[in-house]
Symmetry: C2
Subunit: 519 residues, 2 copies
């Protein structure tokens, strides 16, 4: 069945999953649903301790068994030890058919690949995957479908009951004996625990895993004791050096600086650029450069940002400190500056992933965005973006908050250099659709800027602005004229991955890569 | 059927309600249940405003209709305008058969009595009632049963689905246009919104009512935008003069000072009185006097309280400021000192009612209590307490956190002057059981102290302590020898109220007062 972004979703996938095809970014507007709920236990004996000696023991206490769904968060990023630590014990116990529902997975989790191959793990649900896990999925090693969800879409899936988490394992930089978890402090400080809150609220069993036990009560708790069954202390939950890096140096890439300058000029010429505006940006070189150049103009014109949101990096914290941003709401910290800021700056707040981006709650923060500045691997002439599958067909990225912020913001700007090496970023059809073009307003490349024709208001606002505006087709044509039209990826037939729209429908599928191509 | 505190619960009540009789404070230990869940709507249009012009309009938007259950919180105490404001509109619309599920109701709500009489309101669920509402219930004016729940029991009832809230009306001292509510600031500052959090999370529709609209986002929010459907701004949500009073003057009543001294001596001679202990007390004269006298000894001995919790009043805040308490967790503010403290002192934290006292979550704060100091209208020779029904049979009090803290604390101390005028506080059988004797460890009167024989460990700990220990029967006999054994209240047959145990079973019933007695 063809969906609203023109992708043909195989009947077999619809039958296997019971899912619907994507029908438009706001097609589920005002649909009512009964929220999911966990099965929990009471009355807890007031004298009962929640401390458990080891991962192995807590798995037994939680009743781990074949076929369960277990969850993890990715706030430790490439420094995470928790996923491997838990999966190793599950593997030792000979448990099979596990589905991992993680907020994201990265190269740190390469050690679970053999468990995919031997059937310990049969399902992966994640914002994205990288490295060996992506290869394993793309080459058909995973028995079930890999489901890629946006950050908002993951909470939605949990709250709507599309996924039911049997046991949530939550790595906590600090925790007390009764399960109050904080991201701040400890040996593996990660700033916030936003993505894990839904897991705590909706999983049947919740296990806190920490390397830093602190006196009771550990307040203000990111995750409260009332959701936590057990607490396990281990030696190390992460590698601090890989959790957060130092501040990224401002880019010296002239293409990126030029695109950042285009972006800033675009932003300041929209009607949304006024005192109190709301803004989100990513951590790519061009995004960070545009934050810096926007900050200069804000200072010159005396315009303050009311609210900055999303995953937070140093440059936004600097603007907060300088008083150019009034408040930051934070779901993820990309560097040490951000981690320090959320711990110390009273105007820098942790929010949950549901508050950030869930489309099926009563109004997430993304709905209040004036601007979001995003990157993309590919953008097609319908403004559809691909942030998950590389142009060779390999799963290697993550949806993150891309579709969520695009759907919420009044002005969604995607920055992409026209060519990534020999690969055109602007193309006729993206390899895989992750963010629907109807939610993307502007594409900025180093060869020109295209405004989505759906946004005549923005085209009108820019009519006297001196920027190199082009149509999206013109940008594609320039790209193709330089490197030629790329051959389509030759996929196999088998569907290995599902790109889930944030509303729970199927945006696209990812097919197996033909072995000859991979070898 | 006779329950575990010896009360005969009529079959009709069991049939009408489908409830079970109380079988012991921990009888439901480790029972599993699936949590309740609301029916909500998504996807919200990012451009949609949540602001609604009037209570009347918001009632229509929420689809108010006959038979609905609506909820309120009582953080504005006797200064609350919200209940009357909403009920007046519902009454005007001619809606019938409404059940009010409030965290508590007081004399401020006397204006709803005519709505009980005319069938607008047919059910009341509350921690307690006072004044005219109590009279109306006790004299049989309410069509259905009034259900009295503890603070923890109310959250349990909501989370287990015993009560389903159709529309929650949440008065918010400050709110932004998207529904982020705070208790701090504004014209009707009430400190915390703890009791309303479950309403926001479990009601189908949630309406924020404020008199102080503030810029977006109102952070840190006690209740988040993601739970809120609509925001209504009105002129005044409360009368600040009645929300919080100035600090209570220390009592000069020698009986109370003596009981406070007994209490302190008891506390410091238990094994639980050591650095880092956890403590809760009420706002009665003797409780406050005991906090002050305990503070002196803590200072002398260099012993700090690790955590103070519950409803908070000035004396606890003073100990926090002096460094004698490390942290306070707060569900209700009784005076201006407490309201100022929670706004300004970084070691004074707001917690939710579920975190405070819900018996059916994975571990509430009451479970961590070493001591709770409580008051009681009556205590019987089985240590059962009555805090809801006066000895004339009229409903006139509230369960509050009494049964919750008693069940959680390692040492539950009840202070009651032996005689309240001509009424003995220690008696053979309490008029109504609200807190089961198995959870009450010590009763302190001005005529002596009784330790529950179940607590041989405490009896042993006190064997060399010079305090006037007596058996509970001896205390009762002294009381009866002075004022005589009181005649039992002559109730009618009809059951008008149910005292619900915190686990959702029936602790006791309250019968109609015979008209001749009331007139």
């Amino acid at each position: 069945m063809i969906n609203a972004v023109g992708r043909d979703i195989p009947e077999k996938v619809l039958q296997d999953t019971g899912m619907q095809v994507f029908q438009g970014a706001y097609a589920r507007h005002n649909q009512t649903y009964k929220k999911a709920a966990p099965t929990v236990r009471g009355i807890v004996d007031p004298k009962e301790s929640k401390m458990v000696d080891s991962i192995a023991e807590v798995l037994k206490k939680c009743g781990i068994k074949d076929g369960m769904t277990i969850s993890f968060h990715h706030h430790f990023r490439e420094g995470d030890y928790v996923v491997n630590m838990v999966m190793e014990e599950i593997h030792k116990m000979g448990i099979k058919d596990i589905t991992i529902c993680a907020s994201s997975l990265g190269k740190a989790h390469n050690p679970i690949v053999p468990m995919i191959e031997d059937g310990t793990i049969v399902g992966i649900q994640s914002s994205g995957v990288r490295g060996k896990i992506g290869e394993a999925i793309s080459t058909g090693k995973l028995k079930g479908y890999a489901i890629m969800r946006s950050h908002g879409g993951r909470v939605r899936a949990i709250e709507e009951g599309d996924v039911h988490i049997d046991i949530a394992f939550i790595g906590a930089p600090t925790c007390d004996c009764y399960g109050n978890m904080r991201a701040v402090g400890g040996k593996s400080d990660c700033g916030v625990l936003s993505y894990a809150v839904a897991d705590a609220m909706y999983a049947d069993k919740v296990v806190a895993i920490t390397d830093t036990l602190v006196p009771y009560p550990n307040l203000p708790a990111s995750i409260s004791q009332v959701y936590v069954d057990y607490v396990v202390k281990v030696d190390e939950i992460g590698n601090p050096a890989k959790i957060a890096t130092g501040a990224a140096k401002p880019t010296t890439d002239v293409r990126k600086i030029m695109m950042a300058e285009y972006c800033t000029q675009f932003v300041i010429n929209t009607p949304y650029f006024k005192d109190g505006f709301t803004y989100q940006t990513g951590v790519g070189g061009a995004s960070i450069a545009s934050t810096i150049s926007l900050g200069k103009i804000m200072k010159e014109r005396g315009i303050k940002m009311g609210l900055g949101l999303g995953g937070i990096a140093g440059p936004m914290c600097k603007l907060l400190e300088e008083g150019l941003i009034e408040k930051l709401v934070d779901t993820q910290d990309f560097d040490l500056t951000a981690i320090e800021s959320v711990a110390k700056n009273p105007n820098h707040y942790e929010i949950t992933a549901s508050e950030y981006a869930n489309p099926m709650n009563k109004g997430a923060y993304v709905n209040q965005l004036d601007f979001v500045i995003l990157a993309s691997l590919e953008v097609d002439v319908n403004f559809n973006c691909n942030v998950v599958v590389d142009s060779n067909g390999m799963i290697t990225g993550a949806q993150g908050g891309h579709p969520d912020t695009a759907a919420g913001a009044k002005c969604t700007i995607v920055i992409a250099p026209l060519l990534q090496g020999r690969t055109p970023a602007i193309c006729t059809n993206v390899t895989t659709v992750t963010t629907p073009g109807e939610t993307v307003d502007v594409v900025i490349t180093d060869y020109g800027i295209a405004i989505n024709p759906r946004r005549q208001d923005l085209i009108e606002a820019m009519k006297d602005v001196k920027l190199p505006f082009k149509t999206i087709e013109e940008l594609r044509d320039i790209a193709y004229s330089i490197v030629g039209e790329p051959d389509p990826v030759e996929f196999g037939d088998r569907v290995v991955g599902i790109i889930e729209g944030r509303d729970g429908t199927i945006m696209d599928v990812v097919r197996e890569i033909k072995p000859y191509e991979f070898d």
